[in-house]
Amino acid sequence: MNSIPMSWYLVFSIGLFCIGLFGVLARKNAVAIIMGLELMLNAVNVNLLAFWSYLYADGMSGLVFVTIVFAVAAAESAVGLALIISAYRRRNTVIAEDMNVLKG
């Protein structure tokens, strides 16, 4: 019936995570960095659900963890984007490198 090995999901998840990480490290626009973060969190969720589905389906801890990742993703994007918009309004930039008020 099910013929997909777990490795496929895990490799997919690593790939998605790395693409997201590249976005976070290399993009200039702060909104794009947030998008990269969303990709990384999605990769984490794929990973968690793959482990839950293949190895530990009896316990609920995998699903609860996915729930928490969703909540964290929502909180992170809400606060992160609010910060970006606030910085944009004050300093008129969305380039992450230019947001350096705290630089000594």
Partner: protein, 173 residues
């Protein structure tokens, strides 16, 4: 190749390709649209993993809410970065080297793991037991504390985000 495998490969390759577009396209709005496609692809993978609830949650929360928030943020901050100038910073090649290194390293490490290629599912064909999940959320010996903490976390995020975003124009700055 079974039909399931074909579906998986199709969905996974489309998803990864659109993820690459998210991090590489110049126009921010298009990046957001590619992000939506990626999120939908991940939702289909959740469905293949027999988790119906999270498939729908992925669509409702990510596509229906977070993606729209990102789109609005893109709209609000337009005109600041012209789209002709490079979208990647100077050290992008270090970032790409690091991510490729991470990818190969992770795959190599994972390959040594004996159950890496298992096809044996632990979950039954009915998907997750939502009743059990709901029970676990409010069970004192289960996940009662994380459940309440999630709500406090979201409250904190709401208050913080509204506080930051709702500042008056007449204020500082």
């Amino acid at each position: 190749m079974t039909p399931m495998q074909i579906v998986f490969l199709l969905v996974a390759s489309v998803t990864l390709a659109s993820a690459v577009m998210v991090v590489s396209t110049r126009r921010m709005f298009h990046a957001a649209l590619w992000l939506i496609l990626t999120l939908l692809g991940v939702a289909i993978l959740f469905a293949l993993l027999e988790s119906r609830f999270f498939t729908i949650v992925q669509v409702v929360v990510y596509v229906g809410a977070i993606a729209i928030l990102v789109l609005f943020a893109v709209m609000l901050t337009r005109h600041v970065m012209s789209e002709d100038q490079p979208q990647l910073n100077r050290s992008w090649w270090i970032a790409s080297l690091a991510t490729i290194g991470l990818f190969t390293g992770m795959v190599l490490v994972m390959r040594t793991w004996p159950i890496f290629t298992t096809t044996q599912r632990a979950v039954g064909p009915g998907g997750e037991d939502l009743q059990k999940l709901g029970f676990a959320f409010v069970d004192p010996s289960g996940f009662m504390i994380p459940f309440e903490i999630v709500s406090v976390l979201l409250l904190a995020a709401l208050i913080g985000a509204v506080f930051i975003a709702a500042e008056r124009k007449g204020g500082k700055g």
